[in-house]
Amino acid sequence: MDTLNQLIQGFISAGTPINLLWCLLGCTIGTAVGVLPGIGPATAVAMLLPITLKVEPTASMIFFAGIYYGAMYGGSTTSILLNTPGEAGSMVTAMEGNKMAKHGRAGAALATAAIGSFVAGTIATVVVTFFAPVVAEYAVRLGPPEYFLLMVLAFCTISAVLGQSTLRGLTALGVGLAMGLVGIDQISGQARYTFGVPEMMDGLEVVLIAVGLFAVAEAMYFVLYEARTVETQNKLSKVHMTRGEWRRSWPAWLRATAIGTPFGCIPAGGSEIPTFLSYATEKKLSKHKDEFGTTGAIEGVAGPEAANNAAITATLIPLLTLGIPTSNTTAILLGAFQNYGIQPGPQLFDKNGALVWALIASLYIGNVMLLVLNLPLVGLWVKLLKVPKSYLYAGILIFATVGVYGMRQSAFDLVLLYGIGLLGVVMRRFSFPTAPVVVGMILGPLAEAQMRNALSIGEGKWGVFVERPMSVSLLVVIVAVLLLPRLMKLRKTLKNR
């Protein structure tokens, strides 16, 4: 009952006209960045971080969250109509959705994507509502050793398990951790790697790294390698699903929600894995296997789209209750909390309860807004795709400048931004993942502090990490996460021999 009362309080606070307006603005910007190629939710939130200097926390968190899940709705439009997925999470949608669009069923694909996102997003929000307080209550009992190991687990999954190559993932993590080292050490107050530049004392700005790595790098990559390719756009048909399409869609939505939600909850990051899993499940269970990869199967759109929205919403659980981000955007959201001097974690529900519940309530409201924004108004968003790429990318550079400059008023940061952009181009060209950089940079200093606190508790002995049952089980999970996929691969190769 307590949860419901707090949720009602949250609705009252999120339902004020000004907060509703922020929510609508966030959902609108989110859909737009989801639709537009070259700019994603992480970049958009990062560029808008300067508003944390002036806007009060509840409003800006509602706004940022709107961008975050709004982009997942918008992303499906791009992947269905152009064969270029706007977001990593919509990659699978592009496979079937684009096939459907080629056969004149773009409208049905868009409809199942939007309604599926709504269903999955709402169910996942219910899970967040009832599950997050439980996790928070439990997490209060975790001490620095457990926290440190949880963060190590997040590092492992994001760098060594996801992605193509463990080596490149670890390299990216190392680069991120190195960026996190710059500035004043939290515990001893000593300056590290500042090279006597006063701007470096405060550390590198999250905005700078994220905008450089995503927006500027994207623009540079486009001019260098991609500007010469010509895209074709599929025709939009009436956004409508037949009764048969409804019947095929809804089981896929529910199955995908069941797949996506747990994936978001655990620190395993990203929405790629659940979307692929959901796609594979649908393909296996479908009665229309012949449509997959040929004329396009509606289940192949309904499932993955629902899975990515469920996963995205559920990533708020580790973020809010443990303070552990598992994706690029949640890492930047953590940065936004930090700008307000708020540290997400188990105490967040006690100390900033009003803010958290308003945020959760806004998720329900935002999903309804997005359904309206995306179904009847989809034609408007499609018009965004007509903006010439040259103007789009040059415009993104202006927004990048305002985000970075607005944060610290330093022209030096703009030169750094260029450098980070170059780094991003190299990383993209040689297929290094970017999420470990951002997560490593933001979580690195926190993990270091937890580790050193844990060691102080253990009077300098490393044994502190194996003395408590919870930390031992976490260690086991870390080892399992690192070894299991490799053992399974090994078994497969041995079997095939």
């Binding site: 190559s165 260029y418 040689f430 297929s431 102080s456």
Partner: protein, 164 residues
């Protein structure tokens, strides 16, 4: 490709060594904890040096593993890249003197030329210039006003009126 991959690996290796060298200058005073502020720098330096060495080895023995072909063309379009680079760096150099709106417009115009030249339809006519300048102002001016007037966040202007 092999040479480029080796360079990337070597770059990571050098970065790791530099971070380790930097760690030498950080105090190791551990206080009550078992490790001091120089511990993580050593770990990160070591990790990067190790990764760098492995990357170089991979590059020399058949290239990076599990590598999908990068999207887009095989070789870069450098003239376009230079336009964009000049735009970004000019913006960094001039933003405090020209003010946000004009400096960003200049960056916009230069970058648009870069993207167009990469697309193979560079247009250096006066008319195209005029159109691009107007569009650049139409984007940067409202952004500037939103930040300075609505959010009261300081951005540099040519004048101190907050409007230009």
């Amino acid at each position: 490709m092999k040479r480029e991959q080796t360079l990337v690996g070597a770059g990571v290796l050098v970065l790791g060594v530099l971070i380790a060298a930097g760690a030498l200058q950080i105090s190791s005073d551990a206080g009550y904890g078992g490790v001091g502020p120089n511990f993580l720098p050593w770990v990160v330096g070591g990790l990067l040096a190790l990764c760098g060495a492995f990357l170089v080895w991979e590059a020399l023995t058949g290239g990076f593993r599990q590598l999908e072909a990068a999207s887009g063309a095989d070789s870069g379009h450098w003239p376009g890249f230079i336009w964009v680079s000049v735009g970004l760096l000019a913006n960094a150099a001039l933003i405090t003197t020209l003010g946000f709106i004009l400096s960003c417009t200049l960056c916009f115009v230069l970058a648009v030329r870069g993207f167009r030249s990469a697309e193979g339809r560079l247009d250096l006519s006066l008319r195209a210039l005029l159109v691009d300048v107007l569009i650049g102002i139409a984007i940067s001016a409202p952004v500037y006003w939103m930040f300075t007037q609505a959010l009261a966040i300081n951005l540099p202007g040519l004048t101190s009126t907050g409007w230009l």
